[in-house]
Subunit: 403 residues, 2 copies
């Protein structure tokens, strides 16, 4: 008996990152490949206290089935935080708790995407979004990123030509590039979007992790109900909890709730109560400030090491927050070849290709700086610089080709 | 700006159960409507100890991102339990941890269903499955249930005529009917299935909750890799944790993992560790025995009250386990009309219609007995019997029609 799978399964590839993570299981490999926050940032003891308080005070209620929308106090916290960060007025009815913001992408795909519908992505773009949307067999379009944000002329052109249903973007410290949209860029992009029916999906898992520059407003400030905002506790509390959320206007939220219910009834309600309790009993701003300082040190350390060890014609972004840097090798140099050479030297990263919908090999790569300490960052960047230098000078080239 | 949703959203209705739950928010209503386990069965203190042990011993590891497949010790526990219950040999590589078994349905839909593909359901069938599969716009077929299981002749006919890709069933204490497949019925159904390529989806959330009769083997015993088995900790540990699993052969599992990763990366890893720890430190058999005794008492109580208060031409199933009874009213009597009359008398249930893919009003209804104590069961069944009697005798009929 031959098993016949759905056609959509041909559109989605097993994540290249997961394949890389297999290489990096070897503890002697210094890995800049994953997208993991520093475990040193997780509030283990405070979560322990919160879990105990929830079970002692809420008892069996904390372990029963719950509402699809999510735990109300957690949704109220999210609304209050949007008000504080951006002056955004959002009601709990506009918040749906999801299994991490990744599930938000799946639910948005379910609610909006018929086969062949247009989805606009940044190039490079978040590979988890490429995977999630691919299951709905859309037609992808892309728009390039510049130092200050999305290329607005290109955005206007693609909106006019293709009228995509969704535009998915990560305006703060983008994964993979580390780039952010400036305030002026947001205003210009929003002005163009408002002339079209395209819904803007603003994924913001890193926005709270700013360690340089000035906070810019959420695109929702300019776009209102034309935007859907995704958030996550993964990078500011703990990713194992799989707690993210979707913020959307009621007309859209109604459909998202139907899709969420059909998909898994509701998000882990015990975890929702534990995190809500943690947030009520602890100072999140103080906690985030510690994470910011740690990530600033690691980002500075990586930037310094890059300046010292990378060949001068390799260019890197300098993020103002978040978790990633993006390196561009000289034209024609393959980051997949570099990955092979580097992994033999026990250092890993993610080659750029999986962040594009239309390229199989590129001269770009992603570096994560949040999950390595400073000694590892210096040693790893030194090894990686050596691999680049050897590759540029042709040393060992024959051996690599011969494999 | 008009929001244009995906076509599939027209195929799935907001669950009628959720609408009913709004009625039952009033605490003076006795509800047999929900599908909730008894909160008295939740091991609150043992979960508290397990959560503390996990955070104290595993620390930040318990809060980091984890593998898509799920926490290995939990998957090993599931394999060991299948070996013990059924003598089934399953490896951890054949187990994927999901957000409750509801997510298993979504992932199976993603992996197998193209638009218009055939899905065979029991009639009546689990409405969560109808909802989950509806998102993939399949063509539904149905096969009736008998007292001893699926109607095998009808099964054979529909397999031959329509060759559905999937046959979804709940062979133990089915939701909504409470009926179970006998051992002989399983053998006959499996013999028919083996002559076709249809994959059998065996959803088994209630199998451990047997309080009468003899345990029957899993259909996987007969079907091997032609079956996909779904399980859940929701009814034997706690539903808030949203921990279920899919058991499938490696060829299928590979695709399910890709779909799971695209859908939400992985299931809450903290909850997986907590439940694994709970299972390691406690005697699950002893815990389940307590639940069985409680549910047997409540089931007996409901059956006794039904014998006393329901009109004699209302017929009910007598389940050997699980959470539900299924009542059949006299031909032509609407369970939706009965719901309206009963809710005015402050007792609620689920009318049968949402458990069918092709009927909008029927003379059947579902009664849950696990989430009410014995006093509430007696009082609620008394009220419901009164509503039935009044309706059958035409008392108050004018007022109902006049609304």
């Amino acid at each position: 008996m031959e098993t016949v799978f759905a056609e959509r399964m041909g559109h989605v590839k097993k994540s290249f990152i997961r394949e890389i993570l297999k290489v990096t299981e070897d503890p002697s490999v210094i890995s800049f490949a994953g997208g993991l926050p520093s475990p040193a940032s997780f509030p283990v003891e405070a979560i322990d206290r919160a879990a105990q308080a929830v079970l002692e005070e809420d008892g069996a209620n904390a372990l029963q089935y719950s509402t699809t929308e999510g735990f109300l106090p957690l949704r109220e916290f999210i609304c209050a935080r949007y008000a504080k960060r951006f002056g955004l007025r959002v009601t709990p009815e506009e918040i749906l708790i999801t299994n991490g913001s990744q599930q938000g992408l799946d639910l948005i795909g379910k609610v909006f995407l018929d086969e062949g519908d247009g989805v606009l992505l940044e190039a490079p773009g978040y590979l988890g979004a490429i995977q999630a949307f691919s299951l709905f067999s859309p037609h992808f379009h892309t728009v390039p990123l510049r130092q200050d944000g999305v290329a607005v002329d290109a955005l206007q052109a693609v909106l006019e030509t293709h009228a995509p249903k969704l535009f998915y973007a990560v305006p703060n410290f983008q994964n993979p590039s580390g780039l952010s949209y400036s305030r002026a860029n947001r205003e210009r992009a929003a002005a163009v979007l408002k002339q079209h029916d395209t819904i803007f999906i603003e994924d913001d898992p890193y926005g709270e992790l700013r360690f340089a520059g000035e906070e810019a407003p959420s695109m929702r400030t300019f776009l209102g109900g034309q935007s859907i905002l995704l958030g996550s506790f993964s990078k500011i509390v703990a990713p194992a909890m799989r707690l993210g959320w979707i913020c959307a206007k009621p007309e859209i939220m109604e459909k998202l709730i139907v899709a969420k219910q059909a998909s898994d009834l509701h998000t882990n309600a015990f975890a929702q109560r534990v995190v809500a309790r943690y947030l009520a009993d602890n100072d999140l701003d103080k906690h985030i400030e510690k994470i910011r300082q740690m990530y600033k040190m690691r980002s500075d350390c990586m930037a310094d090491a890059i300046a010292r060890y990378f060949p001068p014609d390799v260019h890197c972004t300098r993020p103002q927050g978040g978790m990633f840097m993006w390196a561009t090798l000289p034209e024609g140099m393959s980051s997949i070849d570099l990955f092979q050479r580097a992994s033999a030297m026990r250092v890993a990263f993610v080659p750029g290709a999986p962040f594009y919908v239309d390229r199989s090999d590129v001269n770009t790569l992603r570096l994560n700086y949040t999950n390595s300490d400073e000694a590892a960052i210096q040693e790893g960047i030194c090894r990686l610089g050596q691999a680049m230098t050897e590759m540029l000078s042709g040393v060992g080239r024959v051996e690599v080709l011969a494999r």
